[in-house]
């Protein structure tokens, strides 16, 4: 496990509300999609923080907010002690050098008309690093780092398989020597055997360059393998955050418990009892009152529907946002 060296990123009470445009002109927008609703966490150098949750829980929005690709409604993202929102557009551009992203769909994130060389060198050109010859050399180095070869540089994206394209995306993200790489579902579009290759590559690169990852995924097995710490999100909020051992061996939030029990069996002999959640994720436009999870929660009490829980400390590294976590600890799980 990585040692906690220093704080690189601090996210404080981050909120992003997307307005729902009214179809009547000049009428005020009154409804908002509360995609991210008060998220706070810290990121330390060299670690991997996983963000898990179902679709629509706001995990990708968090990724885009960190990178300032969209501006937060409220809250701050502090990178090395500087609030990114306070910077001018120009300054943000140069700050982005240190925070790069790898996206989910390797087929959509590469321009089909450009060569691989152009695509990987583009961030270097944008930031005016090196001359043409040195950029070319850098592209070759990067391709080799991610397990491709120099002769791939002149090809176009359509000549590559999904796994190879994701390698190209990773090479492009690494071009500027970033401190943080935000990986938004980097392996969900890939086949199992290729998935393992890309995960191995990400781990190797982390060791080699001392990268810090934010790893967003809905696949709990992948997150467990990749991450040192895990944040579980539900409807725009973090409901539980802790080290991977704490989340997997001692989940406190009923939602985390249900999420973990929904992982398919590991082998045909496995006989595990499932907690099957009823219903769907509620709409982030009108989230339920109190605890957003109370309508699907097996343990919900009256308090849950009235009062919103706040993150409560389980241990120094483990926090959970549930009214019942203390009383539930004594209760064994009903099977």
């Amino acid at each position: 496990m990585q040692q906690r060296k220093g704080l690189v990123l601090k996210v404080n009470n981050l909120r992003k509300y997307f307005p729902i445009k009214n179809s009547i002109p000049f009428k005020k927008t009154t409804q908002f999609v509360k995609a991210v609703d008060g998220v706070s966490f810290e990121l330390y150098k060299g670690e991997t923080l996983g963000i898990v949750g179902e679709s629509g829980c706001g995990k990708s929005t968090v990724a885009r907010l960190i990178n300032q690709l969209i501006t937060p409604t409220e809250g701050t993202v502090e990178f090395n002690g500087i609030d990114l929102a306070s910077l001018s557009t120009k300054e943000i551009r140069s700050a982005r050098k240190s925070i790069q992203m790898v996206f989910q769909n390797p087929y959509a994130s590469l321009d089909p008309r450009k060569t691989i060389e152009y695509l990987i060198a583009e961030p270097l050109a944008i930031h005016g690093i090196g001359d043409e010859a040195s950029r070319k050399q850098r592209v070759v180095d990067l391709l080799e780092t991610v397990g491709l070869s120099a002769y791939h540089a002149k090809r176009h994206p359509h000549e590559f398989s999904g796994g190879q394209r994701q390698r190209i995306n990773i090479a492009r993200a690494l071009a500027l020597n970033p401190d943080i790489v935000v990986c938004d579902e980097p392996v969900s579009a890939l086949d199992v055997s290729v998935q393992a290759q890309v995960i191995n590559l990400l781990k190797d690169l982390q060791h080699e360059f001392g990268l810090t990852y934010i790893f967003i995924s809905h696949d709990l097995n992948v997150v467990n393998y990749m991450c040192d710490r895990i944040a579980v999100m539900y409807l725009g909020k973090i409901v539980e955050i802790g080290s991977y051992e704490e989340i997997y061996d001692n989940p406190q939030h009923p939602y985390t418990q249900a999420l973990l029990s929904a992982i398919p069996k590991e082998n045909p002999f496995d006989t595990k009892d499932r907690i099957i959640l009823t219903g769907d994720v509620p709409s982030p436009v009108n989230p339920p009152s109190g605890c957003a999870f109370h309508k699907r929660c097996r343990f919900a009490t009256e308090k849950c529907s009235q009062m919103e829980p706040v993150l409560d400390t389980v241990s120094t590294t483990h926090q959970v946002s549930c009214h019942l976590f203390k009383s539930l600890q004594q209760k064994p799980l009903p099977s």
């Binding site: 199992v192 393992a196 709990l220 099957i276």
Partner: protein, 345 residues
């Protein structure tokens, strides 16, 4: 027809199925001599990576391969006592949705957005059974109730966009089961869904099978789904079956190097202690090019000269355990694997 009398319990027997796609002058063998056997009330999983021909196999069973460019060029599909390859389109329409039905990966593209969910269920029922609209509508409500949709009477009048992903997949299952088919083909039924909803749908399918005794073919790339639901498995690679046996046997004693790689590269909880995941190097071959020998030989760590020149036959190496590999015993594979391992370290 010999099938009916030979095996009373056998529902589906696919022999040497070959499907080709012709495009731009080149022929691509998407499915290359696949054999499948399925008994009544059984669940078969077809596992493989994208491009392995698993979905094409399923669409071929329903005779839904778009033609041109696709064509079933060889093989027989014995289903319920007759060969589906030979029958007319009119007869096939009687089979589809009635005796055999299919659910797809993405429920939003497979439902008609301009018709209410009720209409779409009633359509299937009335296409196959003599019923008045009213009777069919009552049956549709029953079906929605069965798949666990709350307030079915109200939901019947709603359109697909008013449903969530999991609910849409439930509607698809309701449509597929409306005429009580003998065989349900599910093509990646839970891939587009969240884990919690996936658990709901898998649970529903398990219950439906126990209560109705429908035989199911599940096509998936997720071995977790196979462990959950299937009695037996067919592992496909580049259009061919490479291994076929019971689920438990496959987990305990995988014989094909590809299956082995597939099992090892599964990421499971508790794997964190390992530093690296065992990954299969390379990527699946391009089927439009002609390939010689075993299709997996280019990625196989144990490949020898014979693997590159001769296509291995699917052989029964143990009771009910079929493998298409030149190295057929576990001992042979283990010995070879250790040899390679020792050579590299």
């Amino acid at each position: 027809m010999k099938v009916g009398e030979v095996m009373a319990e056998r529902l589906l027997d696919v022999e040497n199925l070959t499907v080709e796609f012709i495009s731009g002058g080149s022929t691509m063998k998407a499915v290359n001599g696949v054999n499948l056997q399925l008994d009544k009330k059984e669940t078969l999983g077809i596992v493989g990576e994208s491009g392995s021909g698993k979905s094409v196999t399923a669409t071929a069973l329903m005779r839904l391969i778009p033609s041109p460019p696709g064509k079933i060029t060889n093989g027989k599909i014995h289903f319920n006592g007759r060969d589906l390859v030979g029958i007319s389109e009119k007869e096939m329409r009687n089979v589809r949705g009635n005796e055999m039905s299919m659910i797809f990966q993405d429920p939003i593209t497979s439902l008609n957005p301009v018709l209410t969910v009720g209409n779409q269920i009633i359509e299937v029922i009335r296409a196959h059974e003599k019923m008045t609209k009213k009777e069919a509508s009552t049956k549709a409500v029953e079906m929605l109730k069965m798949v666990g949709i709350p307030e079915p009477e109200k939901r019947l009048k709603m359109y697909p966009h008013e449903f969530s992903g999991g609910m849409r997949q439930r509607v698809m299952i309701a449509i597929a089961l409306a005429c009580n088919p003998k065989l349900l083909i599910a093509d990646e039924p839970t891939t587009a869904l969240d884990v919690t909803v996936q658990a709901q749908i898998l649970d529903l399918m398990k219950n439906l099978q126990q209560n109705h005794g429908t035989a199911i073919i599940i096509i998936t790339h997720d071995l977790g789904v196979v462990w959950e639901l299937c009695d037996k498995v067919n592992v496909m690679y580049a259009g061919r079956t490479v291994e076929s046996t019971t689920t438990k046997q496959l987990y305990d004693n995988p014989l094909h190097p590809y299956t082995w790689g597939l099992l090892e590269s599964q990421i499971t909880v508790g794997i964190q202690e390992q530093e690296r995941l065992p990954a299969i190097p390379g990527s699946p071959p391009d089927l439009s090019k002609s390939l010689s020998g075993c299709h997996f030989s280019a990625r196989c760590p144990m490949a020898t000269d014979i693997c590159r020149s001769n296509v291995p036959e699917l052989m029964e190496v143990q009771d009910n355990h079929f493998v298409a590999c030149h190295l057929q015993s576990r001992e042979q594979i283990v010995a070879r694997k250790e040899g390679i391992f020792n050579a590299t370290t």
